[in-house]
Symmetry: C2
Subunit: 120 residues, 2 copies
């Protein structure tokens, strides 16, 4: 790994991807990425997301009982996550299985990678 940096040089500077804070997003970029954050901006969807992300894949029949919400409501939230590109789903027999889309997830994480100079 060789993470040894001279004192005064910040390790974040060498981290992987172009962070949100590297430069101002233009309007188009913002329009593209905002829906992903928005999709995670509801507690129910955030929990759904974390349940899906915690395992390779998961059946809707295991998601629904974790909430005190109707089936259609869960289905609605899953659709939002799907349309934001955060998860993928496919039907296998009777059940529908959801899994995370790692690219999208990674993209968001990279955006939030804060560069040194913005830190106190």
């Amino acid at each position: 790994m060789s993470k040894q940096a001279p004192p005064g040089v910040d390790l974040h500077a060498v981290a992987c991807c172009p962070p949100l804070a590297a430069r101002p997003l233009d309007a188009d970029e913002a329009e593209t990425v905002a829906p992903m954050f928005k999709a995670l901006g509801d507690p129910v969807r955030l929990r759904l997301m974390s349940m899906i992300a915690s395992v390779p894949e998961i059946c809707v029949c295991d998601l629904t009982p974790a909430f005190e919400l109707s089936g259609p409501t869960i289905s609605h939230h899953l659709r939002v996550l799907r349309e934001a590109g955060l998860v993928d789903a496919d039907r296998r027999g009777t059940w529908v299985w959801y899994r995370v889309r790692p690219e999208a997830f990674r993209q968001l994480g990279a955006l939030l990678d804060i560069p040194a100079r913005a830190l106190a």
Copy 2:
């Protein structure tokens, strides 16, 4: 700092915070974090955030002209970011200066740190 880890030990495991995908969030955690994502879920706020995060601090008078929106509307969005705990502001003389709150930012980034097993 002392980031040296024995070979074979995953650095993610010792990184600062528990990633979203490590385990399902419980309802309380989700309720706490979701507002931050929600705040970033609007294109205008996302651009504001990236403008603020790109520099040590920035004056509202430099933010407003970047959008074709009224002053009050920008002020409203800044308030949402403030109340989500993502930015801090203080008045210095005539102008108000905004800066990012690195802790909050870092927390979100850590949440999106995806563990290896969820990746294809």
